[in-house]
Amino acid sequence: MSQTTDTQTDSLTLVQAVRDGLRGEMARDDSVIVMGEDVGENGGVFRATQGLIDEFGEERVVDTPLAESGIVGTAIGMAAYGMRPVPEIQFMGFVYPAFDQIVSHAARLRTRSRGAFTCPMVVRAPYGGGIRAPEHHSESKEAFFVHEPGLKVVIPSTPYDTKGLLAAAIRDPDPVVFLEPKLIYRAFREEVPADPYTVELGEAAVRREGSDVSVFTWGAMTRPTMEAAENLAGDVDVEVVDLRTLSPLDEETIVESFKKTGRAVVVHEAPKTGGLAGEVIATIQEEALLYQEAPIERVTGFDVPYPLYALEDYYLPEPARIEDGIRDVVEF
């Protein structure tokens, strides 16, 4: 690899930023271990770990048997004894065999041991739809994890944030579920600093400033939301807030944006009922009710198992549906 200086950057896709982030943290800290199904020579289903085995060897890039509960449970034990494991789950829909370990144990180890044990582990998984794959290969169930106190949940939407948030997650002393929007793994490139850096967990990013309505979203839905905002420009002045960390939520940024606009739309691809939009809206009700000018709209997936091919395009929020949601709220 070439010499890096503070200002050197590389033009990376989001999935390359995952790899670059892992590589940077592994080089900084010997206790960082990547593990999972086919993460070694194969470099993972989406090639997120490609090449790491050549650089760091089989001891630190570990191909595991097909056993999600075992992988994550083992990572918890490793973390409790000072390592920083980064287990990969191939698709978010395959995490359920490990759900027990994440929810029943990773999230609670610190509380149970009154802080004697910690769990600095990052469970990485690609999530979300749009790649023409069925059910488990496309779902977006971040709300399951947000509901569990003791876990942090992060979803980046840009290559820059991906590298920085992943580094922050790995250095964080507590367990983080890090969900990667696979639809935009290779959708675009961004200049990313070559040296390691962190993007603080728990901070939302205002992607576009506006005064008429706040649209809250994250992950792969950030792009269609930005597109909708641009399409409405001149007519409606849309603010787009990318939440980035879903647990803990950046309530301050959400509330501040809402106080400015008095109107909001929440966009997510997960099913509507029990989805995180409800939590964002409740926060606004609690903190800024008197600023509210219109009912808050949700533009989301539907309450069905993630549908196949033909229905997928109806399922996922796209710019036109998001624009309709924004107009409803603005024209109320």
């Binding site: 199904e37 194969n42 048997p65 097909l66 056993a67 059910e135 309450d303 069905v304 033909a310 229905l311």
Partner: protein, 336 residues
């Protein structure tokens, strides 16, 4: 590893021709959808069964209509061997309304309760506990039905396998586990997924659970049939669970698009000599069970069948978006 000669086979010429036909139909279906996938006609993921045909054909021939099955992400072969119609299967792969799941399941989720096919399964090892439940039901109804679960060598590492076989052993269930050892779990070889003691005999995992164990040449359809028949008989007569390892090879990638960097040199060619669709037709022709002309005729008929299946899939309608809610609950509807 057992060959066909270890078993007391009761196969007539008609049975043997049927076994050949089933394997040939699977091969034709798979290579056709492989092409359609390459042409981007079929979306999503495709896990082909090419190389493993003898397993589905042999096992399903040992079953009766009243038995139950669970399948895997690599499930097309199981469905065809179980008698599902190739046109409705193709339609499901195309995501069409006329498919077995009305276009909602796709390649990895084909199910047909009428055929006792509880479903292919996108989740590795997901079908094994469900087969256990079918076996409990058979037992509680005092029937002599058995439940058969197909799964890969990789699935043996999942907790679901161990929990199921523990239940099956404890409750003496009529469960037949068919391990399809195709040498790889995705891109990783057996030796990186299992401890040394299991490598030469994966049925060792059945030992503590009291499963009857058998290990058979999975490229030999008659051997597979022989092993499956014994296991099924044991289940029917209250003998409890069995675990049968079928040693085979998959000739295509884990899924379409897999670069297959992990194969050892010469490995493919060595296995290719055992390809059941080379060896079995040859054997039946040699033994005078079928003539070359008859086999060519059979092949031509199968090619037409699969062509028509694809045509049916192409011409069928896509499901209407409003159908997304249908079948979600018994009373229909769902949240808006």
């Amino acid at each position: 590893m057992n060959s066909a000669s270890e078993y007391d086979l009761d196969l007539s010429d008609e049975d043997r021709i049927e076994l050949l036909r089933t394997m040939r139909r699977i091969r034709e279906f798979e290579s056709t959808v492989q092409n359609k996938f390459a042409d981007a006609e079929i979306p999503g993921f495709l896990h082909l069964y090419i190389g493993q045909e003898a397993i589905a054909a042999g096992v399903c021939h040992a079953l009766d209509e009243r038995d139950h099955l669970t399948s895997t992400h690599r499930g097309h072969g199981h469905c065809i061997a179980r008698g599902l119609a190739t046109d409705r299967m193709a339609a499901e792969l195309y995501g069409k309304e006329t498919g077995y799941c009305r276009g909602k399941g796709g390649s990895m989720h084909i199910a047909d309760v009428e055929a006792g096919m509880l479903g292919a399964n996108g989740i590795v090892a997901g079908g094994i506990p469900i087969a256990c439940g079918a076996a409990v039901s058979a037992q509680m109804r005092d029937s002599d039905e058995v439940a058969v679960s197909f799964f890969g060598d990789g699935a043996l590492s999942e907790g679901a396998f161990h929990e199921s076989f523990n239940l099956a052993g404890t409750w003496n269930l009529p469960l037949v586990g068919i391990i399809e050892n195709n040498q790889y779990g995705e891109m990783t070889g057996l030796d990186e997924q299992h401890p040394p003691a299991a490598l030469d005999d994966l049925t060792i995992y059945g030992e503590p659970y009291g499963a009857a164990r058998d290990r058979v040449d999975g490229m030999d359809v008659e051997a597979v049939y022989g092993a499956a028949k014994q296991a099924v008989e044991r289940g029917r007569t209250g003998g409890g669970p069995s675990l049968v390892e079928c040693v085979a090879y998959r000739f295509e990638g884990h899924h379409e698009g897999d670069s297959q960097f992990y194969r050892d040199e010469g490995e493919y060619d060595e296995w290719k000599q055992k390809d059941p669709l080379l060896t079995y037709p040859e054997k039946l022709i040699d033994e005078g069970v079928i003539t070359e002309e008859e086999y060519a005729e059979m092949e031509a008929g199968i090619e037409t069948e699969i062509e028509e299946a694809i045509e049916f899939a192409r011409e069928s309608d896509l499901p209407d978006p409003s159908e997304a809610y249908e079948g979600l609950y018994s009373e229909g509807g769902g949240h808006a």
